[in-house]
């Protein structure tokens, strides 16, 4: 029997098949697109508002970088990212991550997923990868839409960094991608937390709300100076820490710290999610 290589490869990795179907389900949902559209609205509203107001902003007024938008449209995506990080991005991530297992359980489709020989660990991995893919999609939406609307409404040129020095457009695209990567990595810890909460319940709304709530609570704790000893351990602590990427020379040290911390959160909460999910009696 002559079997083409491709089918062999495909058969050897049912996980990839599962991932493919998970991604196609996720990104064919109207809800996913609605959330991405809402994310895209942030830079659009921001740019239009700045364009329509005649008065010039003083430096340091409003959200970071807002006063620079009129000089350089590429700053729209940075400002939009800063504005979206505290609540909007966690909200959308919470919806996607909280829905992962609880949503299937709520719809009664979880047991069909487990009938296939994929196994529960693989299913969890695929669900986490799907949520991570959404994080990337959301941050890239901010970046791409922000850059496009910025280029449309404002002049585009060399970008003045936080250190007051200038980099070319090509370099600034690279820096923007770094910022998008930073924000995506920042949100992965929250994804893992959402995945864990999602294994606890079959009511997806509950899991979504709990995930979003945790991200808000963590940020409130991070704002209290009395709890300074706790701050290095909060998963939200480095969320806005990408200033180093917009400095000359690019400072990647906080990227590393942040990635390590998110990795810790992913490891802990993924292990907890596995413990819960692997021992759970799936009835629905």
């Amino acid at each position: 029997m002559s079997v083409p290589d491709t089918t062999v490869a495909r058969r050897s990795s049912p996980g990839l098949d599962l991932l493919g179907s998970e991604l196609s389900v996720l990104f064919s949902r109207r809800r996913t697109w609605a959330m991405l559209a809402a994310v895209a609205l942030i830079p659009i509203l921001l740019a239009v508002a700045v364009r329509l107001t005649a008065s010039e902003l003083d430096p340091g007024e409003g959200p970071p970088f807002l006063d620079r938008v009129t000089q350089n449209g590429l700053f729209v995506s940075f400002t939009a990212t800063v504005v979206a990080i505290p609540l909007f991005l966690p909200l959308t991530i919470g919806v996607v991550a909280g829905d992962t297992i609880a949503g299937e359980a709520g719809l009664g489709t979880l047991r069909y997923l487990l009938v296939s020989p994929a196994g529960r660990l693989r299913l969890l991995l695929v669900k986490f990868a799907g949520a991570a893919a959404f994080c990337l999609a959301a941050t890239l939406t901010l970046l791409v839409v922000g850059s496009l609307i910025g280029a449309l409404l404002f002049p585009v040129g060399p970008v003045t960094l936080l250190s007051g020095e200038t980099i070319g457009v090509a370099e600034s695209v690279w820096r923007s991608l770094l910022v998008a990567a930073y924000v995506t990595v920042s949100l992965l810890g929250l994804c893992a937390i959402g995945l864990f909460i999602s294994t606890l319940t079959s009511v997806p709304v509950g899991a979504m709300a709990a995930t979003v709530l945790l991200s808000v609570v963590s940020q409130i704790l991070g704002a209290l100076p009395q709890l300074e000893w706790l701050h290095p351990w909060l998963f939200t602590q480095h969320w806005l820490g990408f200033a180093g990427l917009l400095s000359q020379p690019a400072d990647l040290s906080e990227f590393g710290t942040n990635a390590l911390m998110q990795l810790g959160y992913i490891a802990v909460f993924f292990a907890l999610a596995y413990g819960r999910f692997a021992t759970k009696d799936v009835l629905s």
Binding site: G60, F65, T160, P249, A271, Y274
Partner: protein, 368 residues
């Protein structure tokens, strides 16, 4: 063990592993270091012999001075109303800038190449302040105000300074170490503390402890790199406080030559550039700001008190509400008290400051 409880194993093991990693990594960095013993003089020699003037790294400053926790920036902003005069606004800016410097934690990236090339970048959240100097030009930039200040350094300055300090008193490093030791001897005990690790490098610790009792400072310790003699960390401890009152030190350091283009600064488009003249120094390098402004010093060594005559503080400084919040009323004026420094503002407008107890400041104010 049942199959089911086995599946909970990772949920127990992974958090335990992560926790162990979190605990073990700082521990291994702080593992006991044993360097060949050196006397205080030998460590001082190590510093003065050091030829290392090219490095880059991250410097962290933490201050725990026991200042009241208040929102300085918010206060300064709320006072910027139409009723407040310019001077009050200026002074509140002054106070909040000083507060910011003496509280909390700040990180800065530092690049040094040779005697002239310096670049310091102080990192804040989504903002940055930067200072670059290459011997010909000095630039200061603040990303929040988006203003770059340029100072052209006259060509002969560095040569001039060198001539003064180096040829005037040509001390060999051992002589310098000797002189430092004899000068400090009457007031200070200098010992070598336990060897440690700073920024991943092994260091000798030089501990300076005051012999007098009237000072707030408990000790000053300087961590000296055992290989290069570069001072890597300075820690000032205050009496009766476990955490260091002030600590400035490298958290990471790289001894390779930083890229040369870091020391030339070109402000980008949209940056407001302001020119400032080079501050003129008095000739002969005898820079003494005290003589013209009326600043006097009382006492010596650790117990030095700096006194400012009435009227030397900016107008409206004393009425500043921020100051009211920071200070407490004491006999004869108001006191700004920190764990390392006491400042007494007398009712007649004079200022006394020193790392000494309150009654010493009051005594100085009464006798003056």
């Amino acid at each position: 063990m049942s199959r089911k409880s086995l599946k909970w194993l990772p949920a127990l093991a992974v958090p335990a592993l992560v926790a162990a990693g979190v605990v073990a990594i700082p521990l291994s960095a702080g593992a006991a270091v044993d360097l060949p013993d050196k006397t205080a003089k030998e460590v001082l020699l190590l510093v003065s012999d050091s030829t290392e003037d090219t490095f880059s790294g991250t410097v962290e400053k933490t201050a725990e001075l026991g200042l009241p926790d208040i929102d300085a920036a918010g206060m300064a902003q709320s006072m910027g109303g139409p009723s407040s005069g310019l001077s009050a606004e200026d002074s509140s800016e002054l106070v909040s800038a000083a507060l910011e410097l003496f509280s909390g934690t700040h990180d800065a990236n530092v690049y040094v190449s040779g005697e002239k090339n310096v670049r310091v970048q102080v990192k804040d959240q989504l903002a940055e302040r930067i200072a670059v100097s290459n011997g010909n030009d000095a630039w200061f930039y603040d990303s929040e105000s988006n203003v770059a200040t340029h100072v052209a350094i006259p060509a002969d300055t560095s040569v001039h300074e060198k001539g003064d300090t180096h040829t005037g008193e040509m001390l060999t490093p051992p002589q310098l170490a000797d002189r430092l030791l004899t000068e400090l001897e009457p007031t200070t005990t200098i010992t070598v503390g336990t060897d440690a690790r700073v920024a991943g490098r092994t260091v000798y610790e030089l501990v300076l402890t005051p012999k007098v009792s009237g000072t707030l400072a408990e000790s000053v310790s300087i961590a000296v790199d055992s290989e290069t003699g570069l001072p890597l960390q300075v820690t000032v401890s205050a009496a009766g406080q476990d955490e260091p009152a002030l600590r400035i030190g490298f958290t990471s350091i790289d001894l390779s030559d930083p890229a040369a283009d870091l020391f030339t600064y070109t402000p980008g488009d949209g940056v407001t550039v302001e020119e400032q003249p080079f501050p003129s120094m008095p000739p002969n390098g005898e820079h003494n700001p005290g003589t013209e402004s009326g600043v006097t010093t009382l006492g010596t060594g650790w117990e030095t008190i700096v006194a400012l005559p009435a009227g030397s503080a900016p107008d409206g400084f004393a009425d500043n509400p921020l100051l009211d919040q920071l200070t407490t009323a004491v006999d004869g004026g108001r006191l700004l008290s920190t764990s390392l420094l006491n400042v007494l503002l007398t009712d007649d407008g004079r200022v006394f400051a020193g790392s000494v107890t309150v009654d010493r400041l009051q005594a100085a104010a009464n006798t003056e």
